[in-house]
Symmetry: C2
Subunit: 358 residues, 2 copies
C-alpha cells in the first residue's frame, strides 16, 4: 500500500496507480500533504491497459538509436483547466495524482516514449512557475531529481538518466502545469556520447578535464558570466547556439545530481529559480509586460557506465525566442546539417541576463 523512505530533508512516499505505474510523493513540510491519508495512496480509477513504450531502431548512417513510439500520437493535448491531469485530485475528479495536495510528485508517464519515462510536478499549483518556487520547494525538486537519477540509473539496462523541462507551447508542451520529465535511456544518447568522447579526447591530449577548463575559462573571461556563487557558476557559453542560452556548472568536479553535497544543493535551490525568473524578464512587450520565455532546461549527467571522472555535471537552458515576436526555427542548417547559426551575440545575451537580475 505504499512505502516511506528517508531521503535527506524530504519524506518520500511511494505508491502505485491503478494501471500499475509507480508514483512517488516528495513532501518537505509538516503537516505532510500527501502520504498520510489512504486516499493519497489509493488511485480510485478503474485499472486501464498501459500504453506500450516505443521500440528502438538503430540508424547505421549516424550511429544513433531512434525510438519509434506510435502510441504517443494519442497523448493528452492542451487540456482545459478542468481537465489538468497534473493537478491534485478532488472529491469530484481523479487526476494522475490521488492526493488532494502535494509538494513535489514523480510518476511514470502514461504515454511513455521509453520503458522508463517519468513526469515530475514542481508544484500542485497549475499557475506556478519555476522562477517563483521558494528555495525550500526547489530543494525538494533537487532531492527528487537526485533520487530518480540514483534509482533509475541503478536499474538494469539504463545507460543515461536525463532530467529536463520543456516549457511553452513553442517547445511543443502539451500541459501547462509546471512540470519536468525524467527519461532513462537504454543507450547513451548522441549529445552525452559526444561530450564524453570530447572530454576523453581532451584528457588524452592534454591530461586536463575539458568541462572544468571550459567553466574556469568562462569565469576567467568574465564577459559571459551571468551569476557565480560559492559552489556554482552560470554563464552564456562562448559558442552559444540558441538566441538565449545559459550553462550552469558546479565548481567542484561532480558526475551527476546524486553526487552534489548538501551545500551545493542548497545554493542550487536558490540559483535555479533565480535564473528562471531572470529568463521570464528577458523579453517584454512594448508596454513593459514580461513575456514568459519558452525554454528547454536540460541536465547533462555522466552516462551510468562512465566512471572515469571525465564527464562533469552541467545544466543548459536554451530558448528559441529571438525577440518579443520572433522565434528561431531549427531548419536546414541546424536540423539537417547540425551547423548552428545564432543571430544573438553570446556577450549580449549575458549582459541582458545580468540586467534581468533583481
Amino acid at each position: 500500500m505504499g512505502s516511506v523512505t528517508d531521503v535527506p530533508l524530504v519524506r518520500k512516499t511511494s505508491t502505485t496507480l491503478s494501471d500499475g505505474r509507480a508514483l512517488h510523493y516528495f513532501d518537505d513540510t509538516e503537516p505532510y500533504l500527501s502520504g498520510r491519508a489512504t486516499r493519497a495512496l489509493h488511485d480510485p480509477r478503474p485499472p486501464s491497459p498501459r500504453a506500450a513504450p516505443g521500440g528502438l531502431r538503430w540508424d547505421a548512417r549516424t550511429g544513433d538509436w531512434v525510438t519509434i513510439a506510435s502510441a504517443r500520437m494519442d497523448r493528452t493535448h492542451l487540456p482545459g483547466p478542468g481537465e489538468n491531469p497534473l493537478a491534485p485530485s478532488t472529491a469530484l475528479r481523479s487526476t494522475e495524482i490521488p492526493a488532494h495536495d502535494y509538494d513535489v510528485v514523480v510518476f511514470e508517464n502514461r504515454f511513455p516514449a521509453l520503458p522508463r519515462c517519468e513526469v515530475i510536478c514542481y508544484s500542485s499549483d497549475p499557475a506556478a512557475t519555476v522562477g517563483s518556487l521558494p528555495a525550500r520547494r526547489m530543494r525538494t525538486v533537487i532531492e527528487a531529481w537526485a533520487d530518480r537519477t540514483a534509482v533509475l540509473g541503478a536499474a538494469d539496462g539504463v545507460e543515461q538518466v536525463f532530467c529536463f523541462e520543456n516549457r511553452g507551447v513553442e517547445t511543443g508542451v502539451t500541459l501547462t502545469h509546471p512540470h519536468g520529465q525524467i527519461y532513462a535511456y537504454p543507450f547513451v544518447p548522441r549529445e552525452a556520447a559526444t561530450v564524453l568522447r570530447r572530454a576523453r579526447e581532451h584528457r588524452t591530449a592534454t591530461g586536463g578535464n575539458l568541462l572544468r577548463e571550459r567553466m574556469l575559462g568562462e569565469l576567467d573571461a568574465g564577459t559571459r558570466v551571468v551569476a557565480s556563487g560559492r559552489h556554482w557558476a552560470a554563464y552564456v557559453p562562448h559558442a552559444a547556439r540558441w538566441p538565449v542560452e545559459v550553462e550552469v556548472a558546479p565548481l567542484r568536479d561532480v558526475p551527476d545530481l546524486c553526487a552534489l553535497d548538501d551545500d551545493e544543493r542548497a545554493e542550487l535551490a536558490f540559483l535555479y529559480p533565480e535564473l528562471m525568473a531572470r529568463l521570464d524578464r528577458y523579453f517584454s512587450t512594448a508596454d513593459g509586460a514580461p513575456i514568459p520565455l519558452p525554454y528547454i532546461a536540460a541536465w547533462y549527467q555522466a552516462p551510468t557506465a562512465a566512471d572515469d571522472g571525465d564527464f562533469r555535471l552541467h545544466l543548459r537552458i536554451m530558448s528559441m525566442r529571438r525577440s518579443p515576436d520572433k522565434l528561431k526555427y531549427l531548419a536546414g542548417s541546424e536540423s539537417a546539417m547540425g551547423a548552428w547559426i545564432n543571430d544573438a551575440v553570446p556577450e549580449e545575451i549575458a549582459a541582458r541576463l545580468r540586467e534581468a537580475a533583481r
Copy 2:
C-alpha cells in the same frame, strides 16, 4: 557586364548586383528570358553596404563550429505580395533580380550567415511549388545545383556545399516565393562529419560501403520503398526520425550532384517534383483539401576533401507535421540530448507515400 558560360542544356549568365553580390541566371528555353537585355544585367538600385557574414566560434564541448550572425536579425520577414524580393523586377519596382522574367536564378544572400550563402529561385512565379515544376525546369534547377556545388566547392576554404530548401512558416521560412538555399561551409558540419566517420568505420570493419548497403537493404526489404527507377531509389529509412521522412539515393556510387550523369539527372528531374507533389497530398483537411507539407529538403554531398569514395550522395526530405493539426517539436530529447522519438511508424509513412502517388 556579365559573362555567359556553357552549362549542358542551360545557358548560364553571370552578373553583379549593385552592392557587389554575384547573380547567375540559368535559362533553359528560347527565347531566353534573362541575360539578353541590358536591364537583366544591370541592377538599377543604388549601391548599399553589404551585410557582414557571421563569425565562427568553436564549441570545445561538442567539437562543433557555431556561426554567430547578428546582422541577420534584421532580415526580411514575410513581406507582402508587392514586396517579394525574389519576384522579377518590373518597370516600377526593382527586386533582387534585375530581369523582368527568369527561369532559374542564383544569387548571393543579402543577409548571409556564412561568407558564401546563395539563394536559388526555382521559378519566377511566386505561387509555384516544386511539386508543380515541369521536368525541364527541374532539370535546370539540378544543373544550377551541380554548377554551384562545383564552383563553390572549388573555392578556397570551402569544405562542404549544402543545397537545401526550407518550406513553410513551420520551418521559419521568411519568404514564400519558391526557393532554396546553398551554403558553402568553411568546415565540415556535424551531420556530414558523422556520416563520413560512420562510412569509414564501416569500410574498415567490413570492407563495404555503408550508404550503398543501406540503400540496397531498403530495396531488398521493400516495406519502406516509396519509388524506384533505373537510376534512383526513394524510401523511408528504417530508423526515420521525423513524422514524414524520405531518403532518395542514386543506385550508382556518386559523391555529389556534380558527379551525376545525364541519365541520372534526367530521371531525378522527374522523380523530385513527383515526390514533392506526393508530400503535398500527404495530409488533407476534413473536407479533403490537401495541406501543403512544411519540409526541409537536404542534399548530403561528400565534403570537398573526402575523396575516398565512402561518402555517397543522398537527399533527405523531412517534415515536422504529425497530423493535419499537430506538429512535432524538437524539444528536450531531440534538441538537447540528440535522442529522437518518432510518433510515426516508418512502414506506415511509406505506405501513405505510396498511396499518394498518382
